[in-house]
Symmetry: C2
Subunit: 333 residues, 2 copies
């Protein structure tokens, strides 16, 4: 296992310490239970937006805490759901009197633990809404999921809902925006290599030198099919076709095109994929009005990429463009 | 070779096409000769700042073109210097009447070709200054270099000089700022794995599963020493010590701490390294007042990291904080 780590059991807390040192102007870190929260939390009168999940997907979610995006993020152990006490304490810490939105990726552990935290927070008088993301068109059910997995759209939902909260919308309205983004977004990913969970010490799965996995999950869980390695253009077609064939895109729609690195794939390759994905989307009559290209929802050092397409109306475009200031996404300020 | 590419000979031009599709608001792409330039170039009356080098180090340099940073970037083939005609045409395209600064990483090919381009541009009446970066403390000479290699400080110099040009300083002043940044910055890198140049189709070097290379160059050229894999903290100490022992840091200095991924190392590991580097710098009496953490000067998919420390005075801090709007670095706008 070749990693820049010390002891596997210290990975998450040492990463959190690095974040604490690096971004004191943006975030604070709470330990035991572990969560990252806005340096100026709670923002009185604003809906608070929280997410979380297993570590190993950085910068998601901790890198997205700050003005215009998340109020807090709860990191579990690598590829392991955070515990209810993390979400509960984070919820109490950032609640500014206008309620809290939990954005939850559709994995069984995350759903259960966020649900429990929401119930506990409600028992303490905090209004909580939960929205589940499930945008991965690759498989209907998976190793860790009943129904579709929540993947790339989560990043976009966190940005857009953070902006909606920032401009003073109600909890119900922010949750409605989140449901709209999830309903209008579709994703699919692929892997060239496996990743290695530090505690496990060996690759999650074996992938021969001439093979790839299409429809991979963000924990290395199996996808649709394993096949011989193909060209970037063929791979991009294999990802774009199921996305476009699913709801809800029509010729003439404005879309955001998000090409994401699984962690080990460099930017030069992402732009090659973006080029083909853009051409396919354009040929399908879609207008790519916004984009995001880089490592935003990763699987440790896995090589590969995912593509997310999100239909955008004027409100979503405006919320996407709104200022954001977090460790990993920043513009307008 | 597992990469998201089509034909190896099309990698650079297909990447450029992706950049052209993705960022029309920020940059334009010129083909044959290949260069990326500011969408609003030339900016009349402003010093133009240009850099370039082999491809495979993305986002450097093309991702740094835009307001407040570079006016143009010239990408060569992967790990191969761009040709003089690229730099010459880029220089003519972005020259706004106030002269052009060439920021050149110290590699023999880059030096020769940028020198020739500068001479040709001067013959056409354009004032050109060149500043060479050579911040890598790992080795005195290397496979492609007489003297120290230019690495991480180049990213910082491009940001800071871009800001100096933006606020209307003269060519001489912007070049002086560049020399100051290079003189005040020191770097060192290491690799956990090799990378594979698409044309070569096989790893640049072999590195056994339990070994790492300290002092690696950004093309996989040999570093100081190869040794058994160590912990992140031990590795960070091995990078920080030669940096701190070199000029020009003193207790009490303000510094920028830049922890860079070589391409295949994910963010979670960079923060673990940042944590230790921050503690070492602080213990040495330095005040870490700014930082940069992520993949900014890479070696394709190589796993590993580099650390750059830059002494900062008030002028450099102000220029670092100035607004920047490029594909890969953006804040303040």
């Amino acid at each position: 296992m070749k990693k820049l780590i010390n002891k596997p059991e210290d990975v998450v807390v040492e990463e959190l310490k690095g974040i604490e040192y690096a971004h004191p102007d943006l975030v604070k870190v709470h330990y035991e239970p572990n969560f990252i929260y806005r340096a100026d939390a709670p923002v009185q009168g604003k809906v608070a937006v929280i997410s979380g999940g297993g570590s190993g997907h950085e910068p998601m979610h901790g890198g997205f805490v700050g003005m215009g995006m998340l109020d807090a993020a709860c990191p579990g152990a690598v590829f392991t759901s955070p515990t209810p006490d993390q979400m509960l304490e984070a919820t109490k810490m950032v609640h500014g009197g206008a309620g809290v939105l939990h954005i939850v990726k559709n994995y069984t552990g995350d759903i259960l633990n966020f649900d429990m935290a929401a119930d506990l927070a409600r028992a303490e008088g905090i209004e909580v809404e939960s929205v589940v993301t499930n945008d991965d068109v690759a498989v209907q059910d998976s190793l860790y999921t009943a129904g579709r997995r929540g993947v790339g759209v989560t990043v976009l939902a966190e940005k857009i809902c953070g902006a909606a909260a920032e401009e003073g919308r109600s909890l119900k309205d922010v949750a409605d925006v989140c449901r709209k983004v999830n309903g209008w977004g579709r994703s699919m990913g692929m892997a060239l290599t496996s990743c290695t969970v530090p505690h496990a010490g060996k690759p999650t799965f074996d992938l021969p030198e001439d093979e790839m996995e299409i429809g991979i999950g963000i924990h290395g869980e199996p996808g649709r099919t394993r096949m011989k390695l193909k060209s970037a253009d063929e791979i991009t077609e294999m990802l774009m076709e199921p996305i476009l064939n699913d709801l809800p895109f029509q010729a003439g729609d404005n879309v955001l095109l998000f090409v994401n690195s699984m962690g080990g794939t460099p930017l030069i390759e992402l732009y090659i994929v973006y080029r083909k994905a853009y051409e396919i989307a354009t040929k399908a009559g879609l207008k790519v009005v916004r984009n995001l290209i880089g490592p935003y929802i990763t699987s440790l050092e896995m090589a590969g990429c995912s593509i997310t397409l999100l239909k955008m109306d004027d409100d979503l475009i405006r919320l996407w463009d709104a200022p954001v200031k977090t460790p990993a996404l920043r513009w307008g300020v």
